[in-house]
């Protein structure tokens, strides 16, 4: 270790605290942006422009009764919300924010992120199972089927990037994009990954596991207080993580003219988060069978063709 210990610690806690705070602020930001796009004010009462709404929500969540239904499987019920938050925060460790910022430089960084996102599924499944409630169970079933099938081509869509940069290391992938961002040669991969990312983080239009109109709140129907808050923050962490990953993998990471690297990284990520919210504001939900059919019959072949063409072109030019 050549870097002094305090820089490492600063890196770890800086990234950790920044992501948690950003996820919390996003709960307010999303409602404001939704309000803006849907022509209504959104939360604007607490503090200037409603910025203190987050604080008000947190106070409310902390003082709510933390209710555990007596028919629940209690240890699993308590474990479930922690899984999503823990895995998402751990996944942030490998994302390189700028040349100097980033917790670990892992050789298999990309696989690590995929592994963490596949572990995060447990949170929903276990939440749905432990609640011992029909709505929660249905939500959990849907979430499991959806994430397991969208994970398949989420991984496949990234292999084009891996082939072009020749590494699973996220830092190497960013460095390989110094001259040309991967979104240009890998546009299909970008689209597939973006859609799979929405499905993985269970955002509208793919939020069928928690579709209010048919399942009340899906897998977190029985959750209240801070346990619900963890599911909620976990979802926003997933949104930020997917945006940060798209920035890293397809939009050149911290590369960009004039501005310092970290600003470029944050700017690109913020724009992607805004697109996530815009999609939620504007798109309706598909039916569940449409969702699955779309995944297996459109996205998977697209990802495979992209993989094949990328491999062919790389072999041709090599």
């Amino acid at each position: 270790m050549s870097t002094p210990i305090w820089i490492t610690l600063l890196n770890i806690f800086g990234v950790l605290i920044a992501t948690v705070i950003l996820a919390a602020v996003l709960t307010w930001g999303e409602r404001r942006l939704l309000g803006f796009w849907q022509d209504r004010p959104g939360p604007n009462r607490v503090g200037p422009f409603g910025t203190l709404q987050v604080l008000a929500d947190m106070i409310k969540l902390f003082f709510k009764e933390d209710f555990i239904p007596r028919f629940a499987d209690i240890p699993v019920f308590v474990l479930a919300p922690t899984v999503v938050m823990a895995t998402m925060l751990i996944a942030f460790a490998v994302v390189p924010m700028s040349p100097g910022i980033g917790v670990v430089d892992l050789n298999i960084g990309l696989l690590f992120v995929l592994a963490m996102s596949s572990i995060a599924v447990y949170s929903i499944i276990l939440g749905g199972y432990a609640s011992n409630n029909k709505y929660a169970l249905l939500g959990g079933l849907r979430a499991a089927a959806q994430t397991v099938s969208y994970e398949v081509f989420m991984g496949l869509s990234l292999m084009g990037v891996v082939m072009m940069s020749g590494s699973f290391n996220l830092r190497d992938i960013v460095n390989a994009q110094a001259e040309r961002w991967f979104i240009m040669p890998q546009f299909v991969g970008f689209i597939v990954f973006f859609i799979a990312g929405i499905a993985e983080s269970r955002r509208t239009p793919f939020d069928l596991p928690e579709a209010e109109h048919e399942l009340t709140a899906g897998f977190h129907t029985e959750y209240s207080g801070m346990k619900f808050g963890m599911f909620f923050v976990g979802e926003y962490l997933a949104v930020i993580l997917i945006s940060a990953l798209i920035t890293t993998l397809f939009l050149g990471g911290w590369h960009g003219p004039w501005l310092p690297p970290i600003i470029w990284f944050c700017l690109k990520t913020a724009i992607l988060v805004a697109i996530f919210i815009l999609l939620r504001a504007s798109l309706p939900r598909p039916r569940y069978d449409q969702l699955m059919k779309f995944g297996w019959k459109v996205m998977l072949p697209l990802a495979l063709i992209n993989l094949l063409v990328t491999a062919g072109v790389l072999l041709w030019t090599a």
Binding site: I108, V121, Y122, G140, A145
Partner: protein, 174 residues
């Protein structure tokens, strides 16, 4: 390094024992996931990061999810715990315990006699080496496995296929 290894190994062993003895199926599966994660950490420590990542993605992240999915659909209540208690009598696991104890003795003998190299020198095997090995030396095994998987896929498709005739009947009935 050594301490981390022994800690992870202890976690793996304890959680595997819990898998066997736990009465509740979902809790036992959660211990199994823990055990798989611990094994992944051990892989990583011994210079096989790709194996570690695949262990988490495929075993912990996909196969175990599907198994929990099925158990969740069965939605067994507390009655199965009682049933499990009745099944897990000491007499049923005496046989397997003796046989595994023999295996353990064999393993200890092998390790202590030095036939298996227990030196700490191990080399790092990255994704690239694994890929090269898979598609040169083991290419036949890869092809055979892919054929087996394809056969499984075709079988699953056949079982889940909607029968055209039934649909025609129901249309006629209407």
């Amino acid at each position: 390094m050594n301490f981390v290894f022994y800690l992870t190994a202890a976690i793996a062993i304890i959680s595997t024992i819990m898998v066997i003895f736990h009465k509740n199926a979902v809790h036992a599966l959660l211990y199994l996931v823990t055990s798989l994660l611990a094994v992944a950490v051990i892989f990583y420590q011994f210079g096989a990061p790709l194996a570690a990542a695949l262990e988490v993605i495929i075993y912990a992240g996909a196969i175990m999810v599907l198994i929990i999915f099925v158990i969740m659909m069965l939605n067994q209540g507390d009655s199965t715990v009682v049933q499990e208690q009745a099944w897990l009598q000491p007499t049923t696991w005496v046989g397997p315990a003796i046989l595994s104890a023999l295996l353990l003795v064999q393993l200890i003998l092998l390790v202590s006699s030095g036939q298996i190299s227990s030196t700490q020198t191990f080399h790092y095997i990255g994704p690239k080496q694994v890929g090269i090995a898979l598609f040169s030396h083991y290419v036949l095994a890869v092809e055979l496995a892919s054929m087996l998987l394809l056969a499984g896929l075709v079988g699953a498709f056949h079982l889940a296929r909607r029968r055209k005739i039934d649909q025609g009947d129901s249309n006629n009935a209407i």
